[in-house]
Amino acid sequence: MLFQINFKSGKPAYLQLVDQVKVAAASGTMRPGEALPSIRPLAEELHLNRNTIAKAYSELESQGVIETLPGKGSFLKENHSPLRKEIRRKLLIEEIDEAIVMAHHLQVPGAEFLDLIQVRMDALERKRRAHEDDKEKTK
């Protein structure tokens, strides 16, 4: 897991770490059981106060995202489903926002943009069904 801290985001560094682990967990970049870097090397690498890293890890632990085994380190937990939906939504929202900005630049009005989304969803749904039909036929 490679972390990146951006002080210009205005978000406290420990929260940036927390969010990056959650995103990595939701997107599959980090798998359950995988180890997080230990505090000292990560602090040295990012030039962050060790207390900041410790705070991030204890926050992740209290949210049930990671577990810390004494003397062994911190690991991503198997099941933290209550958080996953929220994170998935967050990831999706980022993509939607980008599309909205793009629509604005290309001067596509809001209503037309929403229609387009519906059109695309229908198109993809038709494709998915066609795939399934093919599968049925080959059986």
Binding site: I5, F7, K8, S9, G10, P12, A13, I39, R40, P41, A43, E44, L46, H47, L48, N49, R50, N51, T52, A54
Partner: protein, 301 residues
Amino acid sequence: MNSPIPAIEIQNLAYSYGKAEAVHDLSLRVLPGRCYGLFGRNGAGKTTTMKCLLNLLRPQRGQVRVFGHDPAKAEVEVKRRLAYVPDQVAFYPWMSVRETLDYLASFREHWNRKKEEELFERFRLDPSKATGALSKGQRTQLALIAAICPETDMLVLDEPTSGLDPIVRREFIETVIGAYQEGNLGNRTILVSTHLITEFEGLIDEFTIMDQGVSVLSLEADEARQRYQRIRARFAQMPPELDFQSALRVRRDGREIELIVNGSGPELLERLRAHNPEALTTEALTLEEIFVAALKSEEPR
């Protein structure tokens, strides 16, 4: 719950060299386990303040307390619990690196030999070399080893990285984070004075910006980065005349406006949004930019 005894407490400190007032009515408090930055230009009064904490100077007004003690009355107790890296590092030039460390260790009740070895390796210092033959960077590295091995409760660093090359500076910061903060996590206090703020950005919990002997701004680093923002807006036509009184700085060029704000970000963002900008972005200022903004806003407009 009782609040812990502050590692450092300064109240209304004043100190003058003859007629030249170096520190004027300075107050600040550092809680145990914090990394506290004292930022200021050269001559702002940082070193004088630190010297008062170490009983190298006696406060002329106000008082200083270190771990709850008056450094003038409990000098041994205070010095036992802290290590100091001054801005000008000086050793006996005829002593070797090894002899210097043994000599300095003889004043300490505790000395972590393992850590010493680890740091020797990291800095690739030659123990048999006379300290007079060391470069400025190597002298600072030696001073840092001497400050870290006693594993004291507090580390006081006065302009530790100025005049050093970038590699040595990075190693210095990494050593403070890695070797010093290790063990007793959450209880090792750091006071660092510097005008090279960027490299300490991630280390600083809280800071005071000094100028001409007074405190200009004292804040938590996270809070400072939330309050101090740069807002950029671009409009389709020439931007309307808006009230930006609450901004620290306003730059305009054609259809673009850039504001530096302290706390009034949300209000000004709303005002800009009302005029449908083509683009509107905000970012936090870094501590160094906050330092510059705070000192500039002190100047008469």
